[in-house]
């Protein structure tokens, strides 16, 4: 009887170790998250950004986003409010440029540029590259509200240009969708918590599979308490885009 109890106890103790996924499995799950969001063709959407900051008036922007993941190109073109209309970001390879129509000048910015002065950055609009940029470590399974999730701690790979050196993600065990993300500073301090409450899938003829996108992203600044940004994606289309869209000339012409 004692032997049996000891065996049961040993099994219980070793159960998490048995259940813990391997590093390859974790990378595979991250790659699934990336792949599901990746469009082999083009991507365009209308985006609404709302920034609430303690002691300041709310900021609301409307913008058009154009993506060509295969070529690492991204355009964010602001259409509203009037004061911001015509401003735009253009990412070509590893370079992010911003265009200000009031001065008619392009400036190179870092990957960590706060888009439109909000808490969002380029990564929130671009394709997901978690598996390429971070090395995952398993933290555990837990409940996030009513969802059973898998929590991972991701560390930036050597030489990769990312804004946050450490990230934690919560993946829905049932669907594999990313539900929550926390970004940490080098010092270990929590900087942002992001929630992805709703994922939508759109069939991509070029990929011949569904492409997933978060319809809504809620970003909470954990350093400046009371500051949060909401990004809403609408009118997502995966039709091929003109090559000229991903050029400075197009953005300048459109901003006139």
């Amino acid at each position: 009887m004692q032997r049996l109890l000891a065996l049961i106890a040993a099994l219980i103790v070793s159960l998490p170790a048995v259940a813990a996924p391997t590093a390859d499995e974790l990378v595979s799950r991250l790659r699934t998250v990336d792949e599901r969001q990746r469009s082999s063709g083009d991507f365009q959407a209308r985006v609404y950004l709302e920034q609430k900051e303690k002691g300041k008036a709310d900021l609301v922007y409307e913008a058009e986003v154009y993506r060509r993941d295969a070529a690492d190109k991204l355009v964010i073109f602001f259409t509203r409010p009037q004061a911001e209309a015509g401003k735009g970001y253009l990412r070509i390879d590893a370079n992010l440029f911003v265009y200000d129509p009031t001065v008619g000048r392009w400036e190179r910015r870092t990957e960590r540029e706060r888009i439109g002065g909000t808490a969002s950055n380029r990564g929130d609009f671009d394709e997901s590259r978690l598996a390429d940029e971070y090395a995952p470590a398993y933290v555990g399974d837990e409940m996030l509200g009513q969802f059973e999730v898998e929590r991972m701690r991701l560390s930036a790979m050597e030489g990769v240009d990312v804004a946050y050196p450490v990230v934690e993600v919560w993946l829905d065990k049932a669907t594999g969708n990313l539900l929550k993300r926390q970004d940490f500073a080098l010092s270990g301090r929590l900087l942002r918590t992001t929630y992805y409450p709703q994922w939508i899938k759109v069939f991509s003829p070029s990929k011949n599979a569904d492409v997933y996108y978060a319809r809504e992203i809620r970003i909470f600044d954990e350093v400046e308490k009371g500051t949060n940004t909401t990004i809403v994606f609408q009118q997502v289309q995966l039709d091929p885009l003109e090559d000229s869209i991903f050029t400075k000339a197009w953005l300048e012409a459109k901003s006139r």
Binding site: E111, R112, D161, V162, A163, L186, S187, V223
Partner: protein, 447 residues
Amino acid sequence: MSTLFGIALRNLIQSRRRTALVGVAISGVTTVLVVLLALANGLQDNLVQAATTISAGHVSVAGFFKPSATNINAIVTGKTAIRALVDENVQGIDYIVERHRGWGKIVGNEGTLQVGLTGIVVDDEPKLFDTLGLAFESEYVDGGRDEVIGDARDLAQPDTMVIFASQAKRLGVRVGDSVTIKTETLAGQTNTADARIVAVARDLGLLSDFAVFVDRGLILDLYRYNDDTTGALWVYLDDIDRSEQVMRDLRVAFTEAGYNLREYDANPFYFKLPKVQAEDWTGQQIDVTTWRDEVSFLTFILTGFAALSWLLTTILVSVIAVGIMNAIWTAVRERTREVGTMRAIGLSRVRVLGLFLTEAALLGALASTVGALLGLVLVLGIDALSVPITADAARAILLSDTLHLRTTPVTLVSAVAVLTFLTTLSAIWPSIRAATLPPVKALQHAE
């Protein structure tokens, strides 16, 4: 000449009311001019003090480091060798300090600020703490005490910060509170650090809105720099007027030593960042500038103030000139018969002209001297009172939180000379008219 002088003096005394009236006007304008010039001098002092405390040494040896084409940091690597080169090539050094530079967001209890972080080593600072006056707590905390709280030398402790009074108000913090600094490392990753405020300094105008002092270790830790890295070497000279020459000498020395020297650009280092970022090179560039270059965007304040002073003075002098001309006209009219008599007994036209001009010059010299002395008293009095500047905009422009005026003997003598000259100049036309009156016509002139 002494005869002319005597007659001119007698005439001025005889026409007491007119002399007093014009004299008071000239004195008033001189006083205004002296005060305005003292304000301009004070502004210049404030600029030099603010600039050489917050923005630069007399000469700054700084640089830009780009680990990749898109990433840029205003740092100097291999500071030991650079320091040795400066020591070797510059004569008349008073002292050299290091300034570690950074840029980040400070998050306080009630607000946030984007500021330049200046890392210092307390033991290496011979004069900073003498020029950095600390503010009373009541200046940045509602209901605070009328006494200085904290000690800026506590920056020697790790993770500490000194901020300025207007920043403390905006952040809603006081001495002893902690703030969070959020920035990006050289590799572009976000990093944070908590810093304790050990003192709150008095505002130094526009420059102090965007600068805080932190301990050097905090910058090294925040940006993950190695120990042989710094933001800039600030060279203080025995004579600040040698800054330009020393800068030129150092540029030659760095070029000869094989350093990649950035082309001279008379602007603050942060104005150059977008341009440097857009350039496609990687590695280190050294930049050598003077304190004037690092605050070149503020020279508009001095230029604007000088223009305003001269505009105001010109308007006042124009009014005075009309008054003087009118007074001399009246004198000519009153003394037409006298002029006729003098001309009839052989006084030449030139001497008549000289008589009236001497009268105007004497009036100008006496009145402007009185005005200059009055101005001196006012300047010394106002400066001694250390009148506080309450409006934020005025503090930003005047680069101080108290009104500072300074005059010099040269300024006073110049004001007297200018006003005397202008007074004499405005008397030329009526004096010529007096000198050219035909003696017969002048003698027939009815009183």
